[in-house]
Each structure stands twice: as C-alpha cells, then as structure tokens.
Symmetry: C2
C-alpha cells in the first residue's frame, strides 16, 4: 500500500525521460531534502513527508498538491482551517456529499462560483 511513493516515482521517472534534471537527487535538492530520504519515501520505506514537503514535491512534479496530499493520507492545512472556522456547516455539507456523484458536486461548485450569493 505505498500508493504515494509508487506514484511519485512513476511521475518522476516519466518526467525524467526528456529531462534529466528529474533524477532523484536533483529533485531532492530542489525540494530541500536529502536524496536518501526521498529514496525511502519513493519506495515507501518511510511514511510520506510532511505537508510542506509534499506540497513542494507536488509543485516540482507538476502534480496537484491536494491530490498528492490525499495520497499521503493528509488534507491541506488551509482546507482544514476553512472547515474549522464553521465546523457545523462544513461538517454537514461534506458528510452530505459523501456519496454524491462527482458531477453533482461539480454542479454545486459551479453554482457557487457563478454567483448566486
């Protein structure tokens, strides 16, 4: 169950095919961790990194930070902060949408974005 590591490695090796700046070492340096650490992360030898490191890694690899965080078993701190400001409202909303189909949620997103309130 090393969803996270496998995915990171796959994406990185993909990028590497046309840009050799995506070696484990170079990526590690750019995101500010030791190569040995990133190696272990990719192989699932250790737990996924902290939120900050995961986000830097996502940016570096051109991945969606929220998606990578999800694979790391985390939820972005800024989302949590939003929820914590109005816990009842957001808790209800999210639980309500637990089983909703994707397009229903998307519709809500658009509805809200395109005005209405």
């Amino acid at each position: 169950m090393t969803q996270f590591g496998d995915n990171v490695r796959a994406v990185r090796e993909q990028l590497r095919q046309d840009d050799r700046r995506f070696s484990l070492r170079q990526v590690a340096f750019r995101i500010g961790v030791e190569p040995a650490y990133l190696s272990k992360v990719e192989r699932g030898d250790v737990a996924p990194p902290s939120e900050a490191t995961t986000v830097r890694l996502a940016r570096e690899l051109g991945e969606d930070p929220d998606v990578l965080l999800a694979m790391a078993g985390k939820v972005s701190g800024d989302l949590q902060q939003i929820i914590r400001k109005r816990p009842r409202l957001f808790a209800d909303l999210i639980r309500q949408l637990r089983e909703a189909p994707d397009d229903a949620i998307l519709r809500v997103v658009r509805e809200v974005r395109d005005g209405e309130w």
Copy 2:
C-alpha cells in the same frame, strides 16, 4: 489562546450546577483519562487531547464533536477521509465556499439533502 480548555471548563461547570457527577474527576474517569490530565487540558497547560478523547469529551458534555474538535485545531478524521477520496472536487468546493455567507452554505446543504441527484 486556550479557547478549548476554557470552553470545556465553562461547559462542565455549567452542567455541574445541577449534577455533581460533572466534577473534573468523574468526567475524567468516564472519558477514560487521568484527572490530572483533564485538569491540565482545561487550563490550557497542555495541548488539546487526541481526536478520540476530544470526541468522548464532547459527547460527555453534550457538545457537538465537530465544534469541539475545531476548537482543538482539528478536523474529524471521517471528514478528512471523505475529502481524501476526491481531493480535487472537495478542495475546490471548500475553497469556493471560504467566504460564502452561512446561509448560502446552508442552502447548498439543504439543496443536496432534499434530493436533486
């Protein structure tokens, strides 16, 4: 900034006025922690308890677990799990609603609850 502890203490002492089973000690025993620990928690001498303990405490005091968790700077694990299953969708939705007024969110909750999908 001991929002959490102050609130717990206030609620507990309130309940205690007509039910002496709400002494710090008795509550501590019922939620399964040491009295000394609960004491420190209420005074903000230590960080808020774990999610599990916070939820037991909320139930014991008749408070909304999500609200108490929010005061503890946390977001319920089950909500996080829902978000992690569809990170992009929920991240967009939640950020979209960051500044929305309460009643707009409530409307969405109801809209979703009362069918439509």
